[in-house]
Assembly symmetry: C7
Homo-oligomer: 94 residues x 7
């Protein structure tokens, strides 16, 4: 079973805190929006979203920083994912 | 009796919890927006919506994830449906 | 005496509950927006509305679903009508 | 003394309740927006309003339905008028 | 000393109540926005305002109706003026 | 040390009350927005701001009226400046 | 490990208070938005953001003034960074 995001949406999977520490990345944040490192699982096709052309620039497998409270969480086959808009992704971790 | 949605609207039918478990998809969500799996019943023609060109990409029979509290519920011939805008559909379940 | 709606407005007439039951359509809805079945009485000319081109797609005599609390009610020659924008019409009942 | 409205504004004069009853039109409305029948006295030139082209479609002498609480009231030579935007006019009474 | 308004701004001078009564114009209004008669003192150049082309249509010396609470008041050489946007001017008094 | 504003921003320096009185300009204002006379110190390059073309029309050395509570205050080498958007400048004092 | 910002985002690093004092720049500000001096670490590619073309004008290594409460804070390899949109940068310090 697979989720294919629509429009400018991206399916990401939050990474475990341990992995993050291994990579040397520790996130701090205001109470209002707490950023998280996540892996990109699926990328929507982009195209016209709210009448504006959106080109998708994130790629499957990239590690990205987004805000914890943006997006909608779903659980597929026992795994938890989050669906966000590309515009809610702040940066790619290289 | 049949409902034909206007513009970028889509008529969906929420799936039973049992079906969802069979397919291995269990949904979790924040209190604010609880996602649901639904089947697409009818798709509006798209075109100019609020002065912006909308192309419909979802298709009849697809299973989609949307938010429980988006849309308007109607009951036709004893069956409950929900009318949402295509932009409120997050992903297609394959 | 006749009402001619301006722009993207549509004059509709809410149908009696009995008629609705006859047709097999029973409406349920959240407290926030309770949908209603109505007949289209007059359709505005469309054209530029708020600087955006609007093409009218509903037609006189169609039965439509809209929200109870959208629009403005008027009584002409003893009959009650509602004036809504076409964008507030969710679906056509066939 | 005469008022010439600017842009998409229209000067209307609310009609007396008696006239309305004679014409067979009785208005009901929600507490939020109570519609009124008014006569169009002067029509602005239209043109660019907030960067959008507006074409004036109402004409002097037409009877129109608008909302009681939209617009600004002025009294000229003892007569009360209301200045509204054309977009606040719902329908023309024929 | 002189004030030159920028963009779509207009400098106006509220007229005395006596003058208004002489001209036969008495203003009434809701508590929310109380219209006033004012004389146009200076008109901005128009042009691109918030990315939209604005053409100035009011002229120096015209008497206009605007809302009391729109604009910013300034006192120059003992005289009080108000700076408003052209879009806040409702009508020209002829 | 020098501040170069970005986009449609302008660096201004509020003038002393004494200078203002000498020039004959006394400002009054509502509690909500109290205008101030300031000198333009640096002008941003303009160009695309929020996707809209902005052409800078104020010039270094001009005296302008703006609102006290718009903008951000900074202190450089002991001098206090304010950074505002050009659109927050109401008029030029000549 | 490196962060590459997306769209019109910029990664900045707040400068120590001591550095700021050395350079002669002391920032004051309203309670609502307290400006900060920061160094630009990485600049996003710009391009279409919310359907609008954005051209990046800030450059790596520049010192900029932004608002303390705009952006999201992250810690990479023990160093704290902030991710802001270019539009939240007020001025470049030269």
């Amino acid at each position: 079973m697979k989720l294919m995001p629509l429009g400018d949406r991206v399916i990401i999977k939050m990474m475990e805190a341990e992995e993050k520490t291994k990579g040397g990345l520790i996130l701090t944040g205001s109470a209002k929006e707490k950023p998280e490192v996540a892996e990109v699982i699926e990328v929507g096709p982009g195209g016209l979203v709210d009448g504006k052309e959106v080109k998708m620039t994130v790629k499957k497998g990239q590690k990205v920083i987004t805000s914890k409270y943006s997006g909608t969480e779903v659980k597929v086959d026992g795994e938890e994912y989050t669906i966000v808009r590309q515009g809610d992704i702040l940066a790619v971790v290289e």
